[in-house]
Every structure is written in C-alpha cells, then in structure tokens.
C-alpha cells in the first residue's frame, strides 16, 4: 500500500534519513523502532509532507504521493503527531470536526464521529469541554480520534504512548488494535519497543537514518540485538 524507496532527508546540514526504504501492506500494523534521533519521526513527517525529502520516492496505492500536507490527507493518509498537538482552546467536538475538515459527506462524518465516540467513550462524555482541560491520555485519544475523522486508509502514529501512565499506554495500544480491526492500516513509531513489537505485524528498526533490521514483529521481538538494545534484556550467548 505504501512503498518508500531510498528516502533521503536533511535538517540543514544533518543527514537525517540516509536512504530509507520500507513498505507497508494494507491492513497491517507496521512499526518503526529505534533510539532517539534515529530518524523515526522524520520518516513519518516526510510521508505526511511536513518534512521535505531530497531524494527517493514515496508511492501510495501505486501512485506517487503528493508533497503538500493537505493533498496527502486528501489521498487518505493522516498523521497523529507526536506530543498530540490538540487545539487547546477549542472544544473536544470542534477538535474532532476539524479532523473532518476536508470532507463534505455529512452522513459519513456523523457515522465516523459515532465510531470515534465508541472507541473512546471518554471523549463523548467531554464533548463540550475545552480540549486543553483534558488529561494527557485523553488528549492522546482526542488526537487519534481527530485523525480518524478524516476517514484515512493509512494512519501514521507518532509516539502515541509518550508521557502516558502505564494503564493509559495499555488502553492506547488496545485501541490501535481496534483501529486495525476497522480495516485501517497503521504505521506506528514508538519508543516503547516491546509494546510496539507485540502489537505490530511487521517492524523496521532504524539506526542513524538507516534501516538496520526488518521483518515480522514476532521475529524481531526475539532477536538478540533488538533485545539488548531496545528491550533492556541482557543476552548471554549471542549468535
């Protein structure tokens, strides 16, 4: 569904992505793990048009992806940005409705709003509250809900568990699976490698702007190198 080939991106003089290639198949959860500064977020931002890439190509459903954010959303890719970035001085409902900004099918919007409220009953309760008054976890729910409101085919989730209490992390990952069951494809960037790998179907490991490992998530979770670097497990007899 999404094919990224040989992607190069720079921040000024810093070469953040050095020829990254990944592919995401429809209906899968694909996760990208890696240390801080590995280029995970840059990769997502390149897909959603926030960061410009200099070389390489991104194809979505067989066609090249446009480079402007709003055109990308129109094609069916939405990002749930890191740090949530909700509209603090608007109500929860206004936040969600802004997510449906590019749509004009009233019926569909209504249906998706119901769906979001089903996934996150908390948001329904707080519908009229200012989004800034929500707790961190609720804000993350809102950010995901806002993304869903654009009725995307592919959702880019950037560190959804960042700064959340363990119980809330559980909830968010449960919801990520629920969203997959709605028929959406998910590209997930996470620090929490264990959670990410146990939720995802396949995975890529980034290091300093390069893909260093990739495969089925279930295989990567047992990979000694991954275990040592990201899961905090000391492996004695490394092969």
């Amino acid at each position: 569904m999404l094919e990224i080939k040989n992607l190069h991106a720079y921040y000024g003089g810093i070469h953040a992505l050095k020829g990254v290639g990944i592919s995401v198949s429809e209906g899968e959860i694909v996760t990208i793990i890696g240390a801080n500064g590995a280029g995970k977020s840059t990769l997502l931002n390149a897909v959603s048009g926030i960061v410009r890439y200099r070389e390489g190509s991104i194809f979505f459903k067989g066609k090249p992806l446009p480079r402007l954010p709003h055109l990308i959303v129109k094609r069916g890719i939405v990002q749930v940005p890191e740090g949530r970035l909700i509209f603090a001085n608007l109500t929860v409902k206004d936040n969600l409705m802004l997510g449906a900004y590019l749509r004009s099918d009233k019926e569909g919007i209504k249906r998706d709003l119901e769906k979001v409220y089903e996934l996150f009953p908390r948001l329904k309760e707080r519908e009229k509250q200012m989004a800034g008054t929500l707790s961190g976890g609720e804000q993350q729910m809102l950010a995901i809900g806002r993304g869903l409101m654009s009725n995307p085919e592919l959702i880019l989730l950037d560190e959804p568990s960042l700064g959340l209490a363990p119980i809330m992390v559980e909830t968010i990952f449960r919801v990520i699976k629920d969203i997959k069951n709605l028929g959406k494809t998910i590209l997930l960037v996470e620090q929490n490698a264990y959670k990410a790998l146990s939720t995802a179907d396949s995975a890529y490991m980034l290091e300093q702007g390069r893909v260093v490992k990739s495969g089925r998530a279930a295989d990567l979770i047992n990979d000694p190198g991954v275990k040592e670097s990201y899961l905090g497990v000391k492996v004695n007899n490394r092969s």
Partner: protein, 295 residues
C-alpha cells in the same frame, strides 16, 4: 462639551473599531502579528479618495474599492511573507508599513509629505455605524463558519492544522486579505472624515496602537476588540484636561489593565445575550456553554 466634539470622538472610535476588527481576525483568530496595518490603511485611504475625487465614483463605492485595493496589495505582500514563521512575518509587516508611508511621502501625485487637502466631508456617525454593523456581522459569520474554525486551528497549533489537511498557508493569505480590506476601509473613512490625508497619519505608531487594542480586548474575541477600540479611543480624549500628562496616564492605564487582566478585557470570550442574562441573574438553559469559554 458639545455634541460636535462627542460625535467626532465616536466617529473616530467607529473607524478604529473597523481597523481593529480586521486586525483581530489576523492576530486574534489566526495568530499572526502585524505591525504594518497602518500601511494597508494608508493604501485604502489614498485609493478611496482617488476613486472618489479624481475618478468621481460615489462615496460608498470608493471606500469599499479602496479597501479592496488594500486587500490586493496584501495578497502580493502575503505571497512574499506568509511563508515566514511568526516573528519574521511580524518584522516583514513592520517594514512594509514603513515603506508604504515613505513611498506616499515621496509620490507628488497625492501631495507627498504636504498631504492631500480639500477632501469633502462625507462621513457622519450614521455612515460609520452602518460600516461597523456590517463589519461585525461579517466577522461573526466568518468566525463561526468552517473557515473561521480553520483559522483558529492555525492559531492554536499550526503543525496539527497541517497534518489534518488544512492548507494553512491559504488560510493565512485569506485572513491577511480580509484584515487588509478592513484596514483599507477604515482608512477611506478616516480620509473622508478628516478631509485631509497625510502619510504621517499612517506611521508605525498607528499600527502599534491597533495591535495594543486587539491584545487589550483579548485575543480571539470580537466583542473584546470592539470594546477595546472604543475604550482606547475615548480614554485619551477624556484625559485631555491632563494636558501633557495625558499619554503618560494613558500608558499607565494600559499597563495596569494588562497586569490585572493579562488575557485582555474579554479573554477569548464573547459578550452574548445568554452571558448578559447570566450576569443579571436571569436563569437560562445551559449557560456554561455560552460560546468560546475559558482560555
């Protein structure tokens, strides 16, 4: 105090309200600071008077056309500068405002620095009031529309607005355009009220004054902007008896109020009928949700 004087102050307040409404859309709702709005005002003023006096268009048409000329210039300026981030845009507008003033200072067709005298008086309280009502209604309509919400989204979190598919650049351009039209119309009215135009009227001080009014009234509040423009126009007049100390007291008053109410007079809320009913103790349904809410 005679009526002529009071009417004059009210007319000036009305003209300021129009300019501040426009700036309020840009600064209060879209989150872009401009220190060049006096420039748009000058363009509107000179164009309106040109259309009216040299080309013989009717008064209302020439004022609105003057506003549109200011809007067109803003499209050009916006294309060049709106890709800049916050502070840089602000500095660019400052340069623009000053440039317009200096150009007018040197263009002899419009009288240069000596000014443009002999403009007929065509503005009275009724005219200004009509322009105000239309201006306020249009802005209220805009803010409560889908487009208004998108502009607020740009102010709140530009990156997030981008990733949910809002063309943030386009909304900034639209917001700047509308606010320049408002400024231009205010300029035209000012010309036809003062009966005299001079580039000096549209200096940096004027731009600053309007920005102060928007912030004083509260970012993101139409009623706050109206209230602030009115108060800050009338206040210096009421302080006339203090002679040279007038602007010291004016400045101190602004500082005092900003310390006491950093969120501005209205702080993002609006004056609504429901709200008034609430203050007067008339029970109403669901008073808590009376628009914009807490900031």
């Amino acid at each position: 105090m005679n009526w002529f004087y009071i009417e004059g102050v009210l007319i000036l307040a009305g003209i300021n309200i129009i300019a501040v409404l426009g700036l309020s859309l840009l600064t209060g709702f879209t989150g872009l600071f401009s220190f060049g709005h006096a420039g748009f005002m000058a363009i509107g003023a000179y164009s309106a008077v040109y259309f009216g006096e040299r080309m013989g268009l009717p008064f209302a048409v020439s004022v609105v056309a003057g506003g549109l000329v200011a809007g067109l210039v803003s499209l050009f300026i916006g294309r060049l500068t709106l890709k800049l981030k916050g502070d840089y845009f602000c500095i660019a507008t400052l340069g623009f405002g000053e440039a317009i003033r200096l150009v007018l200072d040197n263009v002899q067709v419009f009288g240069g620095a000596r000014g443009w005298p002999g403009i007929p008086l065509k503005v009275d309280l009724v005219t200004v009031t009509i322009f105000n009502i239309v201006g306020i209604l249009f802005l209220m309509f805009l803010i409560n529309s889908r487009h208004g919400r998108s502009m607020i989204a740009v102010r709140e979190e530009e990156l997030a607005a981008k990733v949910i598919g809002i063309d943030t650049y386009r909304y900034k351009v639209i917001s700047l355009f509308i606010s320049a039209v408002y400024a231009g119309i205010a300029g035209g009215l000012l010309g036809y009220y003062l009966t005299f135009l001079q580039p000096k009227l549209f200096g940096l001080q004027k731009s600053t004054e309007y920005t102060i009014m928007v912030i004083f009234g509260g970012i993101g509040s139409i009623s706050g902007s109206v209230l602030a423009a009115f108060i800050l126009t009338v206040l210096p007049e009421m302080l006339r008896s203090f002679a040279v100390w007038r602007f010291v007291i004016y400045g101190a008053a602004v500082i005092f109020i900003m310390i006491a109410r950093p969120q501005g007079l209205m702080g993002g809320k609006e004056i609504t009928l429901k709200g008034i009913a609430g203050i007067l103790g008339i029970p109403g349904r669901n008073r808590k949700t009376a628009r914009s809410g807490e900031v």
